[in-house]
Symmetry: D2
Subunit: 330 residues, 4 copies
């Protein structure tokens, strides 16, 4: 059996998912929709899929599932519409910037007995799954302290920042999900600091570019997250988990695995530039997991609730950064 | 335009090439031939291609090019037959174990104005091409000393060893090609030592499992090659080039880029197991380069002559190992 | 000229300093004092120095300087006594667990025009000074985010914890000093989380074993500190400084610089076990810096004020961990 | 008991040994002799030892042992003279450039029941002893292939090359000793290639600057050695031993254990510059081993015979490089 896909939104992340679909056995890219015709055409040319309207995709007989890659403020409605139309839905994070609305969507999906997977691709990265397997195999004992380092090579455009909900909701949200995944317990308390250090324009937009967060679970496990919007050396994505019997780390990926030596020292190339190249395998594995869930009627490995929890942590972190107080989650 | 491929031989390396074809834009896998029906069926099932006889592929209108992955002793005849039939030919090394016959084949290809590319996939590995680019960009000055380390995880089956021509011709031959590529000058003198250290059966077959070679060019540049048929830690593939202004190295690839720490120390996973996983990108890039040559009428980046030269070095190394004398090439 | 030393306290850290003195040109170990005769004898045997009472050392003509390695609650009085006696004083951190008393001591030293250096040996570690030099040379641009990882191999004995003032004052205090040194600005705000994860006995003593701290300066620079009392893989001491133009890191030191490879992977030895072996060079360089200050009448590179500032940060972190609120320093 | 030392020759290596003596418990530097007064004075000033003539040291009652660091052509006579005078002798390699004369010296030492240790400091390097211990503990199974990489940062002065016996006898000789130590069997066959690539002046002196050697034992174990007189990135000293169950490697040492990251990549500092800084610990451990042998009447860990064997390998390598034939040792 093949799961036949429509991709809604042909921007950067839409392209990433379209490409991933074409590399996954059992997945077929049937149609793409985008308000900007040129964007849709580009995907159509690259992969030979149809260009259709969102409505046509929703009602199509030859579409089993959609990937929602449209702007954030359309996610909630689209999820509800497509679930009601009987399509399996994969939606990029977040479900909605408003926690109450996100809860509503989750309820709708449940009421409709629908399928919703929220995109947290890091859980499907081969290195990170190997790291998680080492933890689950008991190789570091009980998890005690998680350290997440995520640095983007550069800030997104101002328009994106204005609608993204800010750094905690568009960037740290991935770390919040990884933290939940690795801690193995829900977070109880959130502390955060946030500054603008790279570009005063970001301050004008009411956002931050440099943040640190401490998460803490009921049993006292902790996680620190460090984020910045600018790293000159590439897309820095590291995980370190310290446990009672040892620790396990996932290292960065480089452009090439070579080293040059001379009088200035020993130099390895910069890191892979950004998520499109760093997480190529993760995006494909993520789609494969979604296909597996759809085909076999299994629960999706990440859910609307995961999206909601990560968003709640983002809201809490923002509040803590603004008030200087630890925020306790319900 | 698409280059339509037939794959001759559906064994291990045939499977590798078939898969590579399916990932290269502008390449299509049309048919496979193999004396063992199950092997051909497996490829057909995986990629939806026809099963045909070698003869049918040679005379087919819908086939532009073939990949020859049959046993070594069939290479020479098949190359000649397919070139005469107007097909572009990609042949796994070696052209023939007999140098004179290999020369004959090269002459035939030339007379027929045919296209022949011999498979030395390492030249297309992304790390190795980055290393070569660093050299070509003058970042290490003049090349002086090349160090090649190639260790297989385990020996091939006895039947393979019996027909492969031995370790110098089936394994070191790749290093000989890399040496020529990196030295940038033809090799003049070859010295070698060879032992059986891993398995006495190999000695009975008249072969070796542990060899070291020193190559030297007319201008005095040198290259050492170290090979063994058995490495417990995976498929060890390293290059180091020392030049007048610095050096550049290509490192191994691991199963995952993680590290576990405990009282026993810091442990990274073993290396990727063998060429099928280590050189996945190289095989795809190699086919892409062949497709580019076929489509655009350009010379192939590796030729029958490259195959011949590597074979001559293998013969010289064997002679040196047996006689204890340096062998000078014509 | 030679600076003639008396060492007060022949316990673990006293031994470290005594050994350091014997390796520094221009420093001589003349006498040791310790209430436990066997401890003093051990040092005397090892380095051929006298055993004397603290009083005798204070009044001795052949002693220019003392290293105070006695229990924390004696530091303040001893500093004042020896400064008044005209001796140059090097005191292990902290000056006193009570900030007000520490301020008093600093005032006394100033009034007496005395010499006081407080022991923060990390500033003298060769790797860390190379890292600091890279920052000062502008190689990473403006410092934005500092990440300090310090993990001890095991907890100190309960008696030590009871009198040390707890993890923030006996362990994190070194990180607070490093943070101040690297941030290049005073810290304005402190946030901290603290748990007991390794041993319930530590909770009974009213202390923590696992803490994370976020520091923030007036201009928004940030520093995270992660500490634990138990790491199975040795004494983990890492620094990473991210700046506007790049980042610089200092890596851990191992027992030996070797790597073993087999089917389980590639394994490097554990880290050096603890501060005595990890900071051998730092302790010697620290004494050399003190000797230089004493001989040439220069200010000491670390002062009583540095000790005080680090202690204030420790107090603030403890308060934040207890209240869940960011603590702002005066 | 203390072993009281005289150092003969206060040049570069004499200074290294003098310093090492001052750091070894149970060793005392009493006197130095050098034809160049300023050189002797420098050592005397640094360590407070006497300046004496070689004759005075030989007949002195307060000297137990000597370190011979004079020019190579004086070694043989000095060893014999001092052994006859009842002094324990530590001599820098080689005993003599003439193998027959070296044998004579060894016979004299034996006849006099004297103590002679020849300086091969690498055997005492902490990393290399850890590597050797891993082999001896069976962690890599049977040794099969040893790979030694030794690159000097720059060539010695012409005058040194003229009297040193050439690269195989002054530089590779250390690798020959390490090879014997690690192979655990005597070498039977030697093959070598040698070129001049860095400086034509070296060719005029009849020497080489770039050499590769393959050694082979009776049981077929092999060792490759690669040497060059010029490496821009520092003093490159690596060992890799491949065995039936795994491999073990010793890595290089850097000026500092830090890493800088920016748009050009990740850069670690160059290697330690040369043997004086790289082998500081090895030289001290070597003297400590000699002191232990002298004090406790034990055999020295390296002997005149080790010096002889390494020299024989150097002679064989030179012959092989000149003739292009493998040289078999008696």
């Amino acid at each position: 059996m093949t799961v036949r896909f429509g991709v809604l939104g042909a921007g950067r992340i839409g392209q990433v998912h379209a490409k991933a679909i074409t590399t996954v056995p059992g997945a077929a890219l049937v149609a793409v929709a985008d308000a900007i015709e040129a964007a849709a055409q580009k995907l159509s040319d690259a992969y030979g899929c149809d260009i259709r309207s969102i409505d046509d995709i929703r009602t199509a007989d030859d579409i089993d599932a959609v990937i929602i890659c449209t702007p954030t403020d359309t996610h909630a409605d689209l999820i509800e519409d497509f679930v009601r139309a009987g399509k399996a839905v994969f939606c990029e994070k977040p479900v909605d910037l408003d926690v109450a609305r996100a809860r509503q969507v989750i309820d709708t999906v449940k009421a409709e007995n629908g399928t919703l997977m929220v995109g947290f691709q890091r859980r499907f990265d081969p290195d990170f799954t190997a790291l998680k397997a080492a933890i689950d195999d008991g190789r570091i004992g009980d998890v005690e302290m998680v350290t997440l380092t995520s640095r983007d090579p550069g800030a997104p455009p101002p328009a994106y920042i204005q609608s993204s909900g800010g750094i905690f909701r568009d960037m740290t949200i991935h770390d919040f999900d990884v933290a939940r995944w690795l801690l193995g317990e829900e977070v109880e308390t959130v502390m955060a600091q946030a500054s603008v250090l790279t570009d005063p324009e970001i301050e004008k937009l009411g956002d931050y570019d440099s943040v640190n967060v401490i998460l803490r679970t009921a049993s006292g496990k902790q996680c620190t997250i460090t984020n910045t919007r600018r790293a000159t050396y590439g897309y820095d994505q590291r995980i370190e988990v310290h446990g009672s019997k040892g620790s396990v780390s996932a290292m960065n990926h480089r452009e090439a695995n070579i080293e040059l030596a001379n009088g200035d020292g020993y130099t390895k190339p910069p890191l892979l530039n950004f998520f499109m190249s760093r997480y190529t395998a993760a995006y494909a594995n993520e789609i494969a997991a979604f296909v597996d869930a759809v085909e076999n009627g299994r629960p999706t490995p990440t859910t609307g609730l995961d999206g909601l929890r990560a968003l709640e942590l983002a809201d809490a972190a923002l509040q803590s950064a603004k008030t200087g107080q630890a925020v306790t989650l319900a």
